[in-house]
């Protein structure tokens, strides 16, 4: 319950990003290198040119710890880190949610089909999933991103532009399909041999009716347990891709891109990278604890084994 409250709080904070930016009077997506703020009654530049020593360096202002007034300081474009953090969180959650829906949707269809029909169908689908899962997940994600980031996706009517947020949603959603589809298939294989399914088959109930009426409701619990866990996993993958410049594209922000922005300021302005890092840790932790809680609540026998194999 605590984890759920935490997650809802994070979600609510991120949803409030436009309100925060409006209240603070900042545009988190535009360079504001010449901006100034009032700090302790003084007009202070957001980007400070070093005046000491040889006068080298041009550093953004650090945290002011004043809400609405560059609370976490500025990044190297003079943008309010707090506002970007909230917008970035929203982007990260949207991508993680979108990818989770995509994964679960395809994994359910493939798992049900392979497990229920068995035979050649199962063999073909399982091998495809095996091949996909044989690639290291991050390597596959990086490879797909590098290929698609330049030109987007254009397959017939299905088009995603290169800078679109749907691109990371699609890539992350696809690479984790085997992760969910394989346990679903295993569960369907077991359900396929259960007495109530065998009875339905012997009574001549059509396959689609058995799948949707008898088997799908029995795997729904597993799918629900997967939701927070996949969101956590997808959020980490998105952050990694964005950190490598092959996920969310500038000037859009995600927690991964903000960490990358902060990487060059780690020594003098550590909060630019630390803040999104902490946000990722808290959110992923909350989602994992929530996933565990859901599993305990919905599946006390913990039949679902997560992970490879």
């Amino acid at each position: 319950m605590t984890a759920l409250i935490f997650f809802i709080l994070i979600l609510a904070s991120c949803l409030s990003a436009p309100l925060y930016a409006n209240w603070a009077g900042v545009n988190p997506f535009t360079s504001t290198l010449d901006a100034t703020i009032m700090l302790d009654g003084k007009q202070t530049a957001v980007m400070e040119q070093s005046t000491e020593g040889l006068g080298l360096g041009y550093n953004p202002i650090g945290p002011t710890w004043q809400l609405g007034n560059y609370f976490l300081g500025a990044d190297n474009q003079g943008r309010d880190v707090m506002a970007r953090l909230l917008y970035g969180g929203w982007t990260s959650i949207i991508i993680a949610s979108g990818a989770t829906i995509l994964t679960l949707l395809f994994a359910t269809v493939l798992g049900l089909t392979a497990g229920f029909f068995g035979g050649v169908t199962d063999m073909i689908l399982s091998r495809i999933l095996d091949i996909l899962w044989a690639f290291p997940v991050y390597l596959l994600a990086i490879s797909l991103s590098i290929v698609m980031i330049a030109h987007g996706i254009d397959i017939g009517p299905f088009t995603i532009e290169s800078g679109s947020l749907w691109l990371p949603v699609f890539i992350i959603g696809v690479i984790y399909i085997p992760y969910v589809a394989r346990p679903i298939r295993g569960q369907v294989l077991s359900l396929r041999e259960s007495e109530f399914v065998l009875a339905a088959i012997s009574l001549g109930v059509p396959s689609h009716r058995i799948l949707f009426r008898d088997i799908l409701p029995n795997v729904t619990t597993t799918l629900i347990v997967f939701v927070p866990l996949m969101m956590a996993l997808n959020m980490l993958t998105e952050s990694a891709l964005s950190f490598l410049s092959i996920g969310v594209q500038p000037p859009d922000a995600s927690w991964g891109t903000i960490i990358q922005d902060g990487q060059g300021l780690l020594y003098s302005r550590p909060w630019v990278a630390l803040a999104p890092g902490i946000a990722i840790v808290i959110t992923v932790l909350a989602l994992n604890v929530l996933g565990d809680g859901l599993r305990d609540a919905l599946d006390p026998r913990s039949k679902v084994k997560l992970g490879r194999g």
């Binding site: 360079s31 040119q49 360096g57 000037p251 990487q263 003098s268």
Partner: protein
Amino acid sequence: MKKLLLAGAALAAFAFSSAAPASAEYMKEHRGGTMRILAHAAAGTVDPHINYTLQYWQIYQSLYDGLIAFQKAGGPEGFTKVPDIAEEFPKPTNDGKTYVFKIRKGIKFSNGQELGVKDVVASFQRIFKVSSPTAGGFYSVIVGADKCIKDPKTCTLEGGVVGDEAASTVTINLIRPDAEIFDKLALPHAAILPADSPTTDVGSVPLPGTGAYMMSAYDPNKGMTLTRNPNFKVWSEMAQPDGYPDVVQYDFGPTEEAQVTAVQNGEADWMFDEAPADRLAEMGTKNKDQVHVTPLTAWWYLPMNNKLAPFDNIKARQAVNFAIDRKALVNLFGGPVLASPVCQVLPPGFPGHVDYCPYTKDPGAKWSAPDMEKAKKLVEESGTKGQKVTIIVEDKTVAKSIGVYLQSVLNELGYVAELKPISPDIQFTYIQNTKNNVQISVTQWYQDYPAASDFLNILFGSGSYTPGSDSSINISGYTNKELDEKIQKALALGVTDQEAANKIWSEVDKTVTDDSAAAAMFTPKHLDFTSKRLGNFQFNYQFYWMVTQSWVQ
């Protein structure tokens, strides 16, 4: 010597009094020791005829010699050419198309072989046999080069480079006079190597040279070791002086952050890579005596594709030029100490440079402030408002932050700008290839040698525009027949009257600037960070810090 040396008085005194680098007095006192220098990574093949990186060209200065050399001196004197393996500068004959070089005797390679005429001839053939990246550009002016470019394996340069063992001379015949031939001969791609050197890229196997040092170990994953060449004897202090340290240990691996810390802690004497932006203020205060800032003849600019919308419209290009805040760009690079805003191609102090800036609030000689109002008006007039523009940048801190800023500016101008950071390994070739339809990019150009043509002809001459090629260095795709004629006129005039040629180069510079072929941003300065123990820091304008001319004891 105009050299901005932001170091302690003692270091400055050494630097400014260093006309004769390895003077006997200093040599006696400071010779010896191991110098430790760092870089994040190796820079590819060690083959001097192939490698085209500043990182190794800097090292090659004490390893290899050419017929001609840039003087091993600090400051702008580093642009001066001196005879090296050639005894003296030959006088051009045959209407400036023939040069007869007398080869010095008694010079030995580090493997003990004596350098002779056959080595010189073979080295010129090897430039083409290994398909040196500048074979077609710099050395295509040699008679027979066209055949060698077509069929490198059988290259003989017949009639182009002719040796005479008895007279100890090498004659170089050109297809046309070339005012920059000595500059080209002084580059590492024209280094003289043993005649029996492999005619393929040697990769990580060092080739013997005639310099004061030799590369005794090289592992691209670990580093390189330079030790004294046992067969070296000074024949020209200006061309190839003796060095101070006995050993130079160049290690690869540490990040830029780690390199700064290592130099601060005295664990390393110098770092090759650019210092991270967030360490600059600290270095400039706590370690100011160890920081050396020097002006460069280089150019950071935004090539705009003159053959692709929206920048096929001159008003759209001029709008970008008016809109960019060059002061902000300078700050993103590290501040005014490390860069100066410019509007034109030729860097300040370069032959042919005359201050000119039409793209500023008050047009004149220098840039003062952006004119966003005028820029927006030009975009309206161009009819390109609302078009999609993609900016291609290197995925490196400074380039990316410039890209993010530019995206902001373009959006403000009314375009729909998108930023694509791509790997630094491929960005430079990617933006050159017209097949990639790059509209605008962020890049930089550092001179190969001090000649206006190295900027204007290379970057904006029609000859440098090769559609569909990764080597189309005229990235803007700017082609102008009249300008090409002027460039050819300046090149020809340079053989006999360099001053008159420089006047033409100034006009060419002005035309390219007026046509907004690209948007100039700033001229960078170079920052070297050295250990406390390192002495006699000298920055050669041509090949940067002279590694072995500094001492560590």
